[in-house]
């Protein structure tokens, strides 16, 4: 039991803080802070800068660019990044396909993909969900049929976030239609420029186009782009989804928005009800951050701690609650979401409702909060 960071960890924190606030261009960080949409180029630039300094994929094996950090340091890295409004490394690369290839892929696949994945030379998309396989992911129907040295892929994926930028896509495909649900699924890497791949953007309720549908029509995929063993894809997906939840509670980012909201609030902060709302959210965020630290402390074996579901569940709830608070601070101005720069209404008020609406997704994507409750009830409480 020790409140303080060790001198080494404190120095590490200062180092991270300095790096993120001086090495990542202000323009990129402002875009994040103002909740505007990042361009592809900004995301790439930011990740490459981090990668140059060995900070893009710290949780990977050291030989592939990772860092031999304690969980606490990973946490500090993650929090300082969010605190500085630096876009995190692309999750599809850094937290999803990268660790899967690093853990289950052949040496050849590792060499071929990991450096490019860490440096965002390849932009990965995720091909898991399908129109009829949401929370019940294992009921997916996209098929891959072996034909000589290739697989022939047919089917449809959906909710492919930022798929419009994707160079490659990692997919769960059904390779044994006879096997039961979870079995018979494989993990395949597909070049999105292959003939037969079509990407169609889906407009979301905030007017943005961050998710897509991806169709596969007789897409031929070299068999050496299979990760791990045939029909073992479900295991890799579970591994990946476990990773996905770690650091999924956007504590630092939410804290930053809440602190910014005090500035937005101005004189409204003198109102006791408003101040109490801030104080209550602030306390819950503190509780969440401390829980993340506790979880970090208790998962030194590298496996996701079951309490990470708590982080996802509460983290997204608070993220949403803070976005709701900002809409309320904007008040009638919050209607002006489509106004241009000549508007008399401050930018944060104009962004408030789209951000609020967009964040409704936070409790749905990446394992809905219902799934998280299920995990808590089952895994932790034994119900």
């Amino acid at each position: 039991m020790q409140l303080e960071l060790s001198p080494e960890d404190a120095a590490f924190r200062d180092e991270m803080r300095t790096f993120f606030t001086t090495e990542i261009p202000q323009e990129i960080r402002d875009t994040v802070a103002e909740r505007r949409e990042l361009t592809k180029e900004q995301i790439v630039e930011s990740q490459r800068l981090m990668n140059q300094h060995g900070l893009a994929v710290p949780h990977w094996p050291v030989e592939w660019g990772g860092q031999d950090w304690s969980q606490l340091r990973r946490h500090i890295w993650h929090e300082e990044m969010q605190r500085a409004a630096v876009p995190p490394p692309l999750a599809f690369n850094a937290s999803m396909v990268g660790p899967v290839i690093a853990t289950f892929g052949s040496q050849e696949l590792k060499e071929r993909f990991l450096p490019a994945t860490a440096n965002l030379d390849i932009w990965w998309s995720q091909g898991f969900s399908e129109p009829d396989a949401g929370s019940d992911l294992a009921s997916l129907r996209t098929t891959a049929v072996r034909d000589g040295d290739e697989f022939v892929v047919n089917g449809q994926k959906t909710w492919t976030t930022l798929g419009q930028y994707g160079d490659w896509i990692f997919c769960l495909v059904r390779t044994d239609p006879e096997a039961k649900k979870q079995r018979g699924i494989s993990f395949l890497l597909i070049d999105m420029t292959s003939p037969g791949v079509t990407v169609r953007p889906i407009e979301l309720i905030d007017g943005g186009h961050e998710v897509n549908e991806v169709w596969f029509e007789d897409v031929r995929v070299p068999a050496d782009q299979l990760v791990g063993e045939l029909n073992h894809g479900w295991d890799y997906a579970k591994f990946l989804l476990g990773n996905e939840r770690v650091g999924v509670a956007p504590v630092g980012a939410t804290k930053r928005v809440l602190a910014a909201a005090k500035q937005y609030a101005g004189e409204q902060l003198a109102d006791p009800l408003t101040a109490a709302r801030f104080a209550e959210l602030e306390n819950e965020l503190l509780a969440l951050e401390l829980t993340a630290l506790r979880v970090a402390a208790n998962s030194s074996d590298g496996k996701p701690h079951p309490a990470s579901s708590v982080l996802k569940l509460k983290g997204t709830e608070l993220q949403q609650a803070v976005s709701e608070l900002v809409v309320d601070l904007a008040g009638p101005d919050s209607l002006a979401s489509g106004a241009g720069e000549d508007s008399a209404i401050p930018w944060w008020s104009r962004r408030a409702t789209p951000a609020y609406l967009n964040l409704r997704k936070a409790s749905i994507y990446g394992g809905s909060n219902e799934i998280q409750r299920q995990i808590i009830a089952k895994t932790i409480l034994g119900l």
């Binding site: 889906i202 407009e203 979301l204 007017g207 009638p332 489509g338 008399a344 219902e370």
Partner: protein, 385 residues
């Protein structure tokens, strides 16, 4: 005390439901309508006029059909059911309501006649950008000032967001008077001293920044008279009608959710098999019904013509409906899952519209503050007068 609608009221509901349902029950039609300016269906606006809906709240001598608040609330609820993008609340209830309450007989006949006939879309230019604290959602104006005397007046300043402000044929503008207080003015937005920058709002509607640079303006009613109290009453009526519109939207958002739970299968069974989900739908129903009760009651308070009780009733309806709208809007998307996030599917647009209605004339906490400040002045709240 009687909560039942009479036959005429039910017929009105069915007629409006038929008309707007024909236009928008296919959600693709609404998407098309909001995709391009003016953001609504001008033909439907014309048909609403023909049916007498646009003139519903106005006296017959002013060109209206002299119906009451219960009828207007029925229309608002039906528009809410299809989240019709027509600016009924802003143009008829608020801008029209201001003219009806403050205008001279001549002004009323001219402006409301044209409004009722569908010949003139009115804009209600009242909200001021960046207003904070007590200035938000108030009945007074500060950022736009009026100068002049008699019938010669000009206005200067900025109003934003003005719903349907770019499309409006005429604007009703609130402005700070030289000697204090707030007046109401008719402004021709086509004039050279008026600038308008229109844009879409998140709920598919349209709003605008309206800049006034010594823009000629005609005072409503007696020139120079402080109309703060009048504005306050019409705003309160508008709040109740916004609640009615929200009721319609919540009703359909819930129905859409229960349909989805019945039909969508996951893990080989319909979602309605999952008790954690159906119980949440039940809680949504509870919120909706409680909001319906207070809003219907508040409509009756307006109809009973007790202006001293309208402010209280409006605040109560708005508080309850704000809470319910958030609850239903958020849960409707959550229970739909990913599909609820897409613009192609209707339910997210209902949430968006509920969010807009919630913030248009005062959100729940705003009204709670008002109610809390007088909570010590009475014992029990008695809904029976």
């Amino acid at each position: 005390m009687d909560f039942t609608y009479d036959e005429e009221q039910q017929a009105l509901r069915e007629a409006v439901r038929g008309l707007v349902g024909k236009a928008y029950s296919d959600f693709e039609n609404r998407r098309r309508a909001v995709a391009e300016d003016p953001g609504f269906d001008e033909q439907l606006w014309g048909r609403l006029a023909e049916m007498g809906i646009l003139g519903l709240p106005f006296r017959e001598e002013d060109g209206g059909s002299g119906a009451g608040p219960v009828e207007v609330a029925i229309v608002a609820e039906e528009l809410g059911r299809v989240i019709a993008p027509e600016p009924y609340l802003a143009s008829v209830v608020l801008a029209g309501g201001m003219v009806a309450a403050a205008g001279t007989a001549e002004q009323r006949a001219e402006v409301l006649g044209a409004l009722s006939a569908g010949e003139c879309v009115l804009g209600w230019a009242h909200a001021e950008p960046g207003a904070s604290g007590a200035a938000r959602w108030s009945a007074t104006a500060a950022a736009v000032t009026a100068s002049g005397s008699g019938t010669e007046w000009t206005l200067s300043g900025v109003k934003e967001p003005v719903v349907a402000g770019a499309r409006a044929d005429r604007l009703v503008v609130s402005a700070a008077l030289p000697d204090g207080g707030t007046g109401l003015f008719l402004v021709d937005p086509a004039g050279p001293s008026v600038t308008r920058a229109g844009y879409p709002t998140h709920d598919g509607g349209r709003a605008a920044r309206v800049g006034l640079d010594e823009a000629p303006a005609v005072p409503l009613g007696e020139p120079g008279a402080d109309l703060t109290a009048t504005i306050a009453v019409v705003l309160d009526i508008g709040r109740v009608m916004a609640c009615a519109e929200a009721l319609g939207a919540m009703d359909v958002a819930l129905a859409s959710t229960t349909d989805y739970l019945r039909n969508r299968k996951q893990f080989g069974v319909p979602l309605s098999t999952f008790q954690a989900l159906t119980f949440r739908a039940a809680d949504m129903y509870v919120s909706l019904e409680l909001a319906r009760s207070v809003t219907t009651w508040a409509t009756m308070v307006v109809a009973a013509g007790r202006p001293e009780q309208v402010a209280d009733a409006a605040a109560r309806a708005a508080l309850q409906t704000s809470r319910a709208g958030r609850h239903l809007g958020q849960e409707a998307i959550q229970l739909h899952g990913g599909i609820g996030m897409t613009a192609e599917y209707a339910v997210g647009s209902y949430t968006s519209r509920l969010t807009a209605l919630d913030h248009l004339l005062g959100d729940g906490d705003h009204h709670l503050r008002r109610l809390a400040s007088t909570v010590g002045e009475h014992g029990e709240v008695d809904p029976l007068p």
